[in-house]
């Protein structure tokens, strides 16, 4: 990052080059600049993704043949727990908001920074502290936790593995998430540029806004639930201990009251990214701006009321089961509203099949498979059959990885020139996408089939008749890995050596494209004034949409 010799012109006055203040490493880890914090998140999150992917590959390798292949049962338990904890708490929940929300949100609303820059830094420090605690939990105490990322009581209270520390790590990470959400809400309320009314906000901002509310209102429930697990383990309060009248089911309720809304923390920002990318590359205003904005809020709201669908088989009254089932179907409506609006946006657009757009197409396709398999499980009769099978594993990888994960990659490709001030070559990215897409479906589609046939989840072993499916899935995991590597190498090289990017390489209309790439420390030389809606290609025309430069 910090070049010692005189930096090339585009970097010289950008946030990437230490023009004053602290230089070197301290200039990064103690920065309060939202753009630098975003990069801190980017690198730390990607680092953990690499670990998580490695663990996933190990699990797939174990499953390549029946019986013990490389690890035994208890190691496998530790593997899926770690994989789950890393992917959920360290990757996909902070994911898009922490990286792109931090970088792009202030730019898109024409602000100089977020409302509480120091709090922003604190939330990154919480993230790192939580991550360190999680890693420590692996090597201390009674060995790596083996409860699954859900920490279900009473097992989580009885196991001798190091659950206490792992749970505390998740607690600290929750803090980081709450602080980010709080910061974004205040930022969006208070720091919009002159003329930027609520319905002139870019849709990415709307999605961050609804996400932030979920972060704020759901995470504390997780916090208290995890605290209780810790108190149970340390002081034995007995609140989830059936031997003393406690009810483990209440743990599940509390856990999912958070963790279901958390699913929308993962997906809503990705949907916001899609709503940014589509109009830019269709050269057309977004179809149904308000419908998309409000559907984000609707998802945030309904998302609170469906937690019971994780518990259809754990023992609930029939009345609550069908109510939760009905509500689950209702959440599909706002999601579908978005998909239809996106499709309509493409209609009669002049489409530029750029890498970000193709990733968005992959997102929509994979997310639809994930969403539709979700609906299947929302139906009580099917749910009883597929509960806790590989079908569920396939489903949530389609949603979280195919949805949120591909959304994150699309966001990276879309804002890459803004963040690093450089362009990347298209061809290797197209190839990476092809490989990724093929690998992804090879990896996860067999899981849907296997689960349907009765393969339980969280098993290190299986019956011989499932061998073919598992073999295909494992091969898919290698293909996927190749795709990820191609993408990573391409982008890493481009970040260092790519040609300089102009301020608005894609012809985007939102404010972040009106400043230099990479942006200067203060974002805009003059506070931008907003005079119309975003994505207004009709009124602006290509000429007016072109960047002002600096």
């Amino acid at each position: 990052m910090a070049r010692t010799a005189a930096p090339p012109a585009p970097l010289a006055c950008s946030y990437l080059h230490p023009g004053g203040g602290r230089g070197g490493l301290l200039g990064w880890v103690l920065t309060t600049d939202h753009k630098r914090i975003a990069l801190l998140y980017l690198y730390s999150i990607l680092g953990f993704v690499a670990v998580g992917v490695a663990l996933g590959l190990l699990m797939r390798l174990e499953l390549i043949a029946p019986g013990r292949t490389i690890v035994g049962a208890s190691t496998y338990n530790a593997l899926f727990t770690l994989h789950g904890v890393i992917m959920i708490f360290l990757f996909i929940i902070p994911g898009i908001p922490a990286i792109f929300g931090n970088f792009i949100l202030p730019l898109q609303i024409g602000a100089r920074d977020v409302a509480f820059p120091r709090l922003n830094l604190l939330s990154w420090h919480c993230y790192i502290a939580g991550a360190i605690l999680a890693v420590t939990a692996l090597f201390t105490g009674g060995g790596p936790p083996d409860t699954g990322w859900t920490f279900y009581a009473p097992y989580s209270i009885r196991t001798t593995t190091n659950v206490t520390l792992a749970v505390f790590a998740a607690f600290v990470l929750g803090f980081s998430s709450i602080l980010t959400g709080l910061n974004f809400i205040v930022t969006i309320h208070r720091l919009r540029a002159r003329g930027m009314g609520w319905f002139r906000l870019p849709l990415f901002v709307w999605s961050l806004y609804s996400t932030a509310w979920i972060q704020l209102l759901a995470t504390p429930i997780l916090a208290i639930t995890l605290l209780l697990v810790m108190m149970e383990r340390l002081f034995g309060l007995g609140l989830f201990d059936p031997a003393r009248g406690g009810d483990p089911l209440l743990y599940q309720h509390l856990f999912w009251i958070y963790s279901h809304p958390a699913v929308y923390i993962m997906i809503l920002p990705a949907m916001g990214v899609v709503s940014e990318i589509l109009p830019t590359f269709a050269r057309r205003t977004i179809f149904g701006y308000k419908a998309i904005a409000f559907s984000s809020m609707a998802i945030a709201l309904f998302g609170y009321l469906v937690w019971g669908h994780h518990m259809f088989t754990s023992g609930m009254s029939d009345t609550s089961r069908w109510i939760f089932s009905l509500l689950t179907f209702l959440v599909a409506i706002p999601s579908a509203v978005k998909v239809f609006n996106w499709t309509a946006t493409l209609y009669k657009g002049s489409i530029d099949a750029s890498p970000p757009l193709l990733f968005v197409f992959a997102f929509v396709f994979l997310f639809m498979i994930g969403g539709l398999t979700g609906l299947m499980q929302g139906a009580l009769s099917v749910n009883v059959h597929v509960h806790d099978t590989a079908f569920v594993v396939g489903h949530f990888h389609y949603v979280m990885f195919g949805g949120a994960g591909f959304g994150l990659m699309a966001a990276l490709l879309y804002w890459f020139p803004k963040i690093f001030g450089r362009l990347y070559p298209r061809r290797p990215v197209y190839i990476a996408l092809g490989v990724l897409f093929a690998g992804f479906n090879l990896l996860y589609f067999p899981m849907l089939v296997l689960g349907w046939m009765g393969q339980p989840r969280r098993y290190y072993d299986y019956l011989p008749q499932f061998q073919t499916g598992h073999l295909i899935s494992t091969i898919g995991s290698w293909v996927l890995l190749v795709g990820l590597l191609i993408l990573t190498v391409t982008l890493m090289r481009a970040a260092r050596r790519g040609p300089w990017a102009p301020p608005d390489p894609w012809g985007g209309t939102t404010l972040e494209w009106r400043t230099a790439s990479p942006p200067p420390v203060e974002n805009f030389a003059v506070e931008p004034a907003v005079t119309g809606r975003p994505y207004d290609y009709g009124a602006l025309g290509r000429g007016a949409a072109a960047p002002e430069g600096r």
Partner: protein, 243 residues
């Protein structure tokens, strides 16, 4: 210290945004929401278990002394009063008075904790604590009552403790006087008070601005203190008055 870096490059066109009293307060209120939800989870557990074991709960509550609870309620309510008086005093520019009221608030908070600690100590002395032989022989409902009692009042006490820490920091800032206090805040960053909108600015130019910041910080700390108070107002009847 991004401001420092920015200053060499361009006029700080938007620094005005970063002295945003409304924003700081909004942030504090949002934080209080999260606190309510945190306790909300425990209240939910309480509600479920109490409906499930009503008579056990009533019986177990007879072991708690309503007098101790009442005294603690009075202590906390009074401390909220002194907190309000501190805020009002600072608003009228009477820094010394504000400090005195703040000290009173802290003293009352400490008294509350002392009272709580002696209550806990007595209970534990009688063998009433989770997994104690005495409790294990009792009914499930009584075990749960005590589990909740320790869990909820413990978490509340922890909040009082944190509150005391926050008030102490503010008291220290007030003691340094407005001008230097502003810089200290900017340097050390008292984020937890929700005041970083003000503290975040690298330099402090005017004493009066610093005083305004102190006001925001004190007010936000007050909001937190009242929240802790409100939570107790619910805990008190739920544990002490149901026998």
């Amino acid at each position: 210290m991004s401001r420092g870096m920015g200053s060499t490059l361009a006029a700080p066109a938007q620094t005005a945004h970063h002295r945003d009293a409304v924003g700081a307060k909004l942030g504090m209120w949002l934080f209080l929401f999260t606190e309510l939800l945190l306790f909300g989870g425990l209240f939910l557990l309480y509600a479920v278990y109490r409906t499930r074991f009503p008579s056990d709960f009533h019986f177990a509550a007879t072991t708690l002394d309503p007098l101790v609870g009442t005294v603690n309620t009075l202590i906390l309510l009074t401390s909220s009063l002194t907190m309000v008086l501190a805020v009002a005093a600072l608003e009228r520019g009477r820094r010394r008075a504000a400090q005195a009221f703040l000290a009173a608030t802290m003293a009352l908070g400490a008294l509350f904790l002392a009272n709580k600690a002696s209550e806990w100590a007595a209970k534990i002395g009688h063998g009433l604590f989770p997994r104690s032989g005495l409790l294990l022989d009792r009914t499930d409902g009584e075990n749960l009552f005590y589990g909740l009692y320790y869990g909820m009042t413990g978490l509340h006490a922890l909040h009082v403790l944190v509150g005391l820490g926050i008030l102490a920091v503010i008291w220290g800032l007030l003691a340094r006087g407005p001008r230097r206090g502003g810089e200290a805040a900017a340097e050390r960053g008292t984020e937890r008070l929700g005041s970083e909108a003000a503290a975040e600015r690298g330099t402090e130019r005017l004493g009066s601005e610093a005083a305004a910041e102190r006001g925001i910080q004190l007010e936000n700390a007050g909001l937190y203190w009242h929240l802790v108070d409100v939570v107790w107002i619910y805990l008190f009847p739920l544990f002490y008055l149901i026998s």
